[in-house]
């Protein structure tokens, strides 16, 4: 029996979150491992938070460390907002092999075959929140039209200077 409403976007700190794709066991295990380690950092450093850049590199390092032992079969999109950096928001895309790039958009999983091209065409420098959400919804719509697998539920989260918030659930917000 499949669960249709699993929240795969783990909140790492007050201003960052990580979307993970992969087998459910690794997915849950890895996102908890990363988020709890970052929480530990905050506790042992007087509440000081790591920047998104540092969080992404920590995450990447853990993937690379695990690769030669028992790899986490997860691909990750990690985003965060830093009040101190001039650009504010930043997004990092990484795979289970431990490669990591800072990008303007990212998609993981089978759906990336459809969505990356849409993002590539429609993403623009300086988009506002509304435009970005519309782009994401465009991708979802396209998936539901063309994709072999029926995916009815999507959760959308927004990270800005106020922190992480859930913008919308899918059709079935049970358990969320």
């Amino acid at each position: 029996m499949y669960q249709r409403n699993l929240d795969k976007i783990a909140e790492l700190s007050s201003h960052s979150a990580m979307g993970v794709s992969g087998p459910n066991c690794d997915l849950v295990n890895f996102s908890e491992y990363i988020s709890k380690n970052l929480k530990l950092y905050e506790l042992s450093n007087d509440g000081m938070k790591l920047s998104t850049h540092a969080q992404a590199n920590f995450c990447r390092g853990e993937l690379a460390k695990a690769l030669r032992k028992g790899p986490f079969q997860v691909n990750v999109i990690l985003g965060g907002y830093d009040a101190k950096t001039p650009t504010g928001g930043s997004l990092y895309v990484m795979d289970y092999l431990g490669s990591c790039v800072k990008a303007n958009f990212g998609v993981q999983g089978y759906a990336s075959k459809f969505c990356l091209s849409i993002m590539d065409r429609d993403w623009e420098e300086g988009m506002n929140e509304e435009q970005a959400v519309n782009l994401v919804e465009h991708c979802i719509k396209e998936l539901q039209l063309r994709f072999l697998i029926n995916q009815s539920n999507f959760i959308v989260k927004v990270i800005d200077k106020e922190g992480v918030r859930t913008l919308k659930f899918g059709a079935d917000p049970v358990d969320n």
Binding site: N45, D46, M48, A54, N57, F58
Partner: protein
């Protein structure tokens, strides 16, 4: 009787004291002095180099000031041999943090790590404490320029200006009266005793710039070195500041540059005497 509690660091004496740790702290009070001063655009550290023999070949590298990573440097008072172990630890910690997070380590985190290492030697059996006190000067994104002091017990604290080593009390009292108020009080402070000087609060203190801090550091060393006039070969001046790209610049002043600072201090004190 006291001897029974001297040999092992792990044992409290009946008065509730750890003698070995106290002796280690005391040992540093006889070591070459180091002054640290926080400036508004950087940090200055000045150390006394004790010249043991004229026959000794001149060291090619610094003996008192060690760079730990691109944004932190420490100054040593005490046993250099012990310090080397701790400096290795600090460098390792800084490098590992940078490797893990691809970002410079927050300075306090680095200081805390070294101090935890020191503390372990005051608690586990069969070890003696490190006979070293440090001044850490550094910069990080969160808190800007910072200055920390640590002692053999593993305690550390942040300062605007402080002194470790021989005569540190005399040095601290000079800093107390002169740090941040030297300019404003120029000329009218001669009649004042120490008690008249208003308590230093954040409102009163106007932080010096690096050049001013250098002069104040030399002044303090002049005082702690028991009247022996500080000469360029007997002291080491270190400054840390930021360049226009926001990178840390570490600099140990050359003998000529140090001489220039000393000359300025002498000129200043001579003119102060005239009025």
């Amino acid at each position: 009787m006291a001897r029974r509690y001297d040999s092992s660091t792990t044992t409290f004496s009946p008065e509730g004291r750890l003698h070995q740790v106290e002796y280690a702290i005391e040992a540093i009070n006889n070591a070459g002095t180091s002054v640290g001063i926080l400036a508004k655009d950087g940090v200055v550290m000045a150390s006394e180099k004790k010249i043991t023999s004229g026959l000794l070949a001149k060291a090619r590298t610094s003996e008192k000031t060690y760079k730990l990573c691109p944004h932190a440097t420490c100054s040593v008072a005490g046993l250099t041999a012990d310090a080397n172990i701790l400096i290795d630890q600090a460098r390792l910690r800084a490098a590992r943090y940078a490797y893990q997070y691809q970002e410079p380590i927050p300075l306090e985190s680095l200081v805390e790590h070294v101090c935890n290492y020191k503390q372990a030697y005051t608690q586990y059996g069969g070890l003696r404490p490190f006979g070293v006190a440090f001044l850490f000067a550094g910069y990080d994104e969160a808190h800007g320029f910072q200055l920390y002091q640590s002692d053999p017990s593993g305690n550390y604290s942040g300062w605007k200006a402080t002194v470790i080593g021989a005569n540190n009390q005399a040095g601290k009292s000079l800093l107390k009266t002169e740090y941040g108020v030297s300019k404003k009080k120029d000329g009218d402070d001669e009649m004042k005793t120490e008690d008249d000087v208003p308590a230093l609060t954040d409102a009163v203190i106007e932080m010096p710039d690096v050049a001013e801090a250098c002069r104040l550091a030399v002044k303090v060393l002049n005082k702690t070195m028991d009247g022996a006039v500080a000469s360029a070969e007997k002291l080491e001046l270190f400054t840390m500041s930021l360049d226009e790209d926001g990178n840390c610049v570490h600099k140990i002043l050359t003998e000529e540059e140090a001489k220039a600072v000393i000359a300025e201090v002498e000129a200043e004190s001579a003119s102060a005497g005239d009025t």
